[in-house]
């Protein structure tokens, strides 16, 4: 059952040094506020999992908290590179970053296997690609009926999955709608689940395209209005494309980045963060 509690306490209790953490959200509903709380608490040596690392992981990587990244596409969508990610991979700043790299189809299926408590998933993937040469989480299986050889990818079962959703009720049931990405799979694959929400409502009204995560698969719900910014929450906010564009020059420079994190994350609290982050 989900406890409804402060973001500070939920992060402190659920996310620990050395954990494997998935913060999911495909452009939409990215849990930035929770990531910033991780930075404020200095939770480190993390293995981060995410299909599209995006600016949220650029910040965590640049803050020096990440040991390893499991991913399939690491860019600032529509803008360009993730400079902190590149600096870590290319130059080991502020620390070396180990990679476990996949395709989207492979990552999606790794979450599906994790949610299904299977050790692996099967796909017709990676054919002719060099990707399998750089990871030990891609292998092959042979179809016992047709003899066809297919790709096998190892299940992902994060210690913690963090997502942002539009609403929870007082019992801690959560509903999200719009682009829901791999959030259900990432949540059900994890040992612990933290959900930040825009608001608590008396009753969850079923929405077209909505998915409901019942309270008994969630550990904590924290109310963080705007907690996806600069990503967005359909029905509550729009994507702050200007922020994503403004991020590029900040992230290009180590000092500018460090200053930005200090001013916009480390010295703020979850409560005051949103207004200042623009």
């Amino acid at each position: 059952m989900a406890d409804i509690r402060s973001l500070h306490d939920a992060v402190a209790d659920l996310i620990h040094d050395g954990d494997t953490v998935a913060m999911e959200g495909f452009t939409h509903l990215i849990p930035y506020a929770a990531a910033h709380e991780v930075i404020r608490q200095g939770i480190t040596d993390l293995t981060l999992v995410r299909m599209t690392p995006d600016v949220i992981y650029d910040q965590l990587i640049g803050a020096g908290l990440v040991r390893k990244l499991v991913f399939s596409w690491g860019g600032n969508p529509g803008v360009g590179s993730l400079h902190r990610f590149r600096d870590a991979v290319e130059n080991g700043w502020p620390r070396p970053l180990e990679l476990d790299e996949h395709s989207h189809a492979g990552m999606a299926n790794r979450y599906v296997a994790g949610a299904s408590k299977l050790p692996f998933a099967v796909l017709r993937g990676y054919r002719g690609s060099d990707i399998p040469t750089r990871t030990d989480t891609i292998s092959t299986v042979t179809c016992p009926f047709t003899g066809e050889e297919l790709a096998a990818v190892a299940a992902l079962n994060p210690d913690v999955t963090v997502i942002h959703a539009q609403q929870a009720d007082r019992a801690g049931n959560v509903q999200l709608w719009g682009l829901t990405g791999v959030q259900k799979e990432a949540a059900l694959a994890a040992r612990r689940v933290l959900v930040t929400v825009e608001e608590i409502v008396e009753e969850l009204e079923p929405r077209p395209g909505g998915i409901v995560l019942p309270t008994w698969v969630i550990d904590a719900v924290s109310v963080v209005p705007g907690g996806a910014h600069p990503s967005y929450a359909s029905g509550y906010s729009v994507r702050d494309n200007a922020f994503y564009q403004a991020w590029d020059p900040i992230a290009r420079n180590r000092d500018a980045f460090t200053r930005w994190i200090e001013e916009n994350v480390r010295t703020r609290t979850g409560r005051t963060e949103k207004a200042g982050a623009r």
Partner: protein, 260 residues
Amino acid sequence: MTETPETPGFTRDELMEVNAARALAGAKTCFVGIGLPSTAANLARATVNPGLVLIYESGTIGSKPTRLPLSIGDGELAETADSVVPVPEMFNYWLQGGRIDVGFLGAAQVDAYANINTTVIDRGPDKPEGRLPGAGGAPEIASNCGRVLMVLRHSTRSFVRKLDFVTTMGHGSGPGDRTKLGMPGTGPVAVITDLGILRPDPATAELTLTELHPGVTVEQVRAATGWDLAVAGTVGTTEPPTPDELAALRALKAAGKEPR
């Protein structure tokens, strides 16, 4: 983006974008990468193929955005879609399920067999690899869509003799490689650049210059290509953009820059 002196009234990028859109004439469904492919696919809907079903890897089927999305997860893609599905379903039932005619990809590096690198760049001995974004959906898009279109700017940095890393296989080392690997789709059928259009030779699968954009010479294309580029016996010239095409393209781009 400066106008080319030979073809006043439009830029080379616009030539590339308009021709990329035209390549979608007749297609039913298109799996759209962000950036240039998304520009082309949205322009196709505004011009040659109003019924084209746009599919984005974020899970939207049948998106009808009125402005160019900055990212594949922009809200308008979901709001205007016929259906929004979870990402695993998109990759398993729709893409791997063989439901999609055309995959439209960009690339950082491409070789003579339309193989793609979007992973790492070799910057020479004793230097660390340069990091690119990675695969995204491309390996399975290229394998499973009925056919593949590619769009990228022409330069010796991007059209290379040997890829530093094969992220996504196009035609491998030549004819038969796709069949040998059990790939359902026919693979890349055209690479549209700001200079012209390359297509795999039917016999060798090697990318061959088949069309030039107005005002571009074969020599310019060869100079911008990192291998000894094959040239078709007869090289055509693409039609200049029509006023309607240009107007539609510019309107899409302008709308994409508007604040919300």
